[in-house]
Symmetry: C2
Subunit: 194 residues, 2 copies
DNA sequence: GGTTAAAACTAACGAACATTAGTTAATGTT
DNA sequence: AACATTAACTAATGTTCGTTAGTTTTAACC
């Protein structure tokens, strides 16, 4: 038995390098040999840590999908005011994106390569997330906190920005996270606040 | 020689079906056999119309990249006011996205699979586009047409929305294009107009 | 220091895929 | 009617890749 596991386990290291590669070349465009090389071993050796290539993708996607789902229902069922709920959801996106931009980059497209059962669960989690989001926006509209506008359209605009954040947040390393949050909230909300 | 070429040439048909498949499964995740099946022939028969799988991707990406580059420099060098230039650029995005949402979906990520020379040209065209865009925004800021805000950040927010449009515009078929334009411009600009 | 288990390596298999070559059917031209 | 061209097909090739099996090395523990 090993007593020291290194600061991050070997598996964690594999997941992180895979996420970077998947982000750049896509799941199908990345070979296990490439991943192995980044971690410093031969391709087949990966199978001492994972059970399949697909498991890597699955872990990266499902983990974050479940977190998003948990956290937004937590926010939605809280006793916060509508505007504060929206504020928290934006913070949630920024928090997860800053913590893990590579995995976040995969969530837009790469779920298509999940195995059927997990793909179904992923889509279900995402749809559920969007319903909660929409509900929060509708609450804001009903309370007059926000301009009159087609809900779907409002959601499209906000989610487009939040979901693209991974691609830009590297350029804002000099901003600390609070500055980043304030900038985004101002930008997103000032177009919305009545 | 053929006298009737059908309403769309066979090659055009291949490009369109390929764009749909690339959008859903990615370039690397789509096989020539899949494309051939959609067009109604066997895999190798595609080579009577194209010279390689990569040429399909190249055509889809480079065509639109060049159009974007041409049109934005046209707008930028025009004698329009700053605010009108921004307005035209937004219209440009909407126009091209509505006309060809599948090809537009590829422009975010699939350029990574272009051959080195073309990848370089693509990135160069995109960078050039972003410089022109930024320049237009700076003009707006200088003229006080727009709130004080980090230019890169402003560009990030607007481009995030415009570049995600392909994913949503299918849901807005019932909107006609003018309504769509008005909605987007109101949404994007109202967060910006001083 | 010898035992044991984790984790690395090498070799090889089998499937999928892009691409090439050679052939045939259909269509338009002379 | 003979010819040429286009575009389809079938068969085959070479490559890449995920994965398995078997073996060796590493390193903790008694």
């Amino acid at each position: 038995m090993k007593v020291t596991e290194g600061l991050q386990s070997r598996k964690q290291q594999i997941l992180e390098e895979a996420a970077k590669l998947f982000r750049n070349y896509g799941f199908k465009g990345t070979s296990l040999q490439q991943i192995a090389k980044k971690v410093g071993m031969e391709g087949p050796s990966l199978y001492n840590h994972i059970s399949s290539k697909n498991e890597i993708l699955s872990h990266l996607l499902m983990t974050n999908a479940r977190i998003f789902h948990e956290r937004i229902t937590e926010i939605q069922t809280s006793s916060l005011g509508a505007i504060d709920k929206l504020d928290r959801v934006i913070s949630l996106h920024i928090e997860l994106t800053v913590a893990n931009p590579d995995a976040m980059a995969l969530m837009l497209h790469e779920w298509a390569h999940l195995e059927p059962a997990e793909k179904q669960e992923y889509v279900s989690l995402r749809d559920c997330y969007e319903r909660e989001f929409q509900s929060i926006l509708e609450q804001n509209i009903a309370e007059g906190k926000v301009v009159q506008m087609d809900v779907h359209f409002m959601m499209f605009m906000i989610l487009s920005t939040l979901r693209s954040l991974y691609a830009w947040c590297a350029k804002y390393r000099d901003y600390n996270r609070l500055e980043l949050e304030q900038n985004i909230k101002q930008g997103v909300l000032k177009g919305i606040l009545a």
